[in-house]
Assembly symmetry: C2
Homo-oligomer: 297 residues x 2
């Protein structure tokens, strides 16, 4: 703690209703309330069966429907559902030409992953069956299942290389946002309309963890766009994106926190009473403001 005392907020038991949940108060406080020096982890059996697939879909509405269908078929064994736009694949293959292009010619894709702790599991057949039904129903346009661990690793490498490829492609305006899953299609339509008008020719590199409602919604300049002019439009683009996120009931920071960069957004998008409560808690725990000054609040 700020005064040098050491607090142990968590025990080895998983469940407790003994006073305020101090663990959760420190988690996500970005070092402004205390420094986390140890963590208790709950371990789960390592999956002994996995299945990875790549599906082409018509639009993001179809991705939301496919997510729901695969959840119905696989339950919590569905552990990955990554939305990937065709632009993401193009950017990534420009930077890394050896990357695969598994189902060329579609606008949107999802990378699907499922795990089962059981060794003898029909998981792969169930995923294949669910995707075949989705194609029949029209939710998916096409799909391919990884036939080996190395094929699965290739698909994941494609997904994991997007951020690095983007960095190499030059300046981009990044947004780490979350939305109610069902509102994602409408958000993307409305955000594109507003951004196309404000930043003519802007490109969209959209990917993310659809099951969490978490999008990495990144903007790239028009092919002939001035780098500096584009960078100068960051605040304007952020305002358009975050205002719309707020109207949809989402969050302007899904997983990367506030730090120094998003302090203004915290004040804009959370209620004054929320900020007041956070400041009261900060003062109660760190009255002299010693811990990570200038961050979050």
């Amino acid at each position: 703690l700020a005064d040098g005392r050491i607090i142990r907020t968590s025990r080895r038991a998983r469940k407790s209703a003994a006073g305020y949940d101090l663990t959760r108060l420190f988690v996500g406080s970005e070092g402004t309330l205390g420094i986390i020096t140890a963590a208790v982890l709950k371990l789960f059996p390592k999956p002994r069966t996995s299945a990875t697939a790549f599906a082409a879909i018509a639009d993001v509405g179809a991705a939301v429907a496919l997510l729901s269908e695969l959840r119905q078929a696989l339950g919590d064994r569905l552990t990955g559902f990554e939305l990937i736009s065709a632009e993401c694949i193009a950017v990534t293959r420009r930077a890394f030409p050896a990357m695969p292009d598994p189902l060329p010619g579609h606008a949107w894709y999802v990378l699907v992953h499922a795990d089962d702790p059981a060794a003898q599991s029909a998981l792969s057949e169930q995923l294949q069956g669910a995707l075949a039904e989705a194609i029949e129903r029209g939710t998916a346009r096409d799909a391919t299942i990884a036939r080996s661990e190395s094929q699965a690793a290739e698909l994941w490498a494609l997904r994991e290389s997007i951020p690095d490829a983007q960095r190499r492609a030059g300046h981009n305006i990044k947004h780490d946002i979350s939305l109610p899953v069902s509102s994602i299609p409408a958000f993307l339509t409305q955000a594109k309309r507003a951004l196309d008008a404000a930043l003519p020719g802007v490109g969209y590199v959209t990917f993310g963890h659809l099951g969490d409602g978490n999008l990495h919604y990144n903007l790239v300049p028009a092919p002939d766009g001035q780098g500096d002019a584009f960078a100068a439009a960051t605040a304007q683009a952020n305002r358009i994106v975050y205002d719309l996120v707020a109207r949809c009931g989402g969050s302007f920071s899904a997983e990367h926190g506030i730090g120094q960069l998003k302090r203004d957004e915290l004040v804009r998008y959370r209620q004054p009473v929320e900020i007041d409560l956070m400041q009261r808690i900060k003062r109660a725990l760190d009255p002299d403001g010693l811990l990570n000054p200038g961050k979050v609040l």
Copy 2:
């Protein structure tokens, strides 16, 4: 809030890293920081396949091993794993003679439940197969699968009637405790040794949600025990049980909270620095102590 302001701590999006986690601070604060007037719920598909089984086991160590085996076989589709002692069944059948006694003659049982969102699922066969393997391996002594929804409902009625049967059986000393799952067998052995010595003839009505490490560890007087003398021993029994829980890294209140009854335990079993932080938070949010006075802190 105590000052009459209304705060909205949660949005419809599932994921957010935008400032302190105020939702979690209010959850479990028992009305001492604010009054919860609305909640956002995440819905999951209703399971379309379920399976319920009842297994006899030699001891609680075998229950912990069986839990691990069934998790390996079923993953998160294992949704219920209720430990039940033979004493629980005896108490319940004395109060409700129509209740079943599915596998008589064993010391310990578990009620197992599994769910699958898929309509065509081999769940029941998988559970049956896993239990057959457990019997072969010696983890389980015997098992029976409910053949119909009404059989499943009967098994759950047996489990759900234990608290009511206990109430009818007279005074008992109740403990709602949680422990690291792996330490439960040693805890039960050590607690019995200490309690047998302190309260000769004491009976044990032990049941609970083993997957959570949550035990309802209830004591009943010896058949010839004086009701008043037994009730007078409550503080002594609590001390024995909770001291041992604390040494095992558990919690003296797993799910029922502190209220007025366990305020002394909160002070005894949480560090002074934890209590101090809770009090600081209470003062920061409710400086005049208006909300639920006399509870928790």
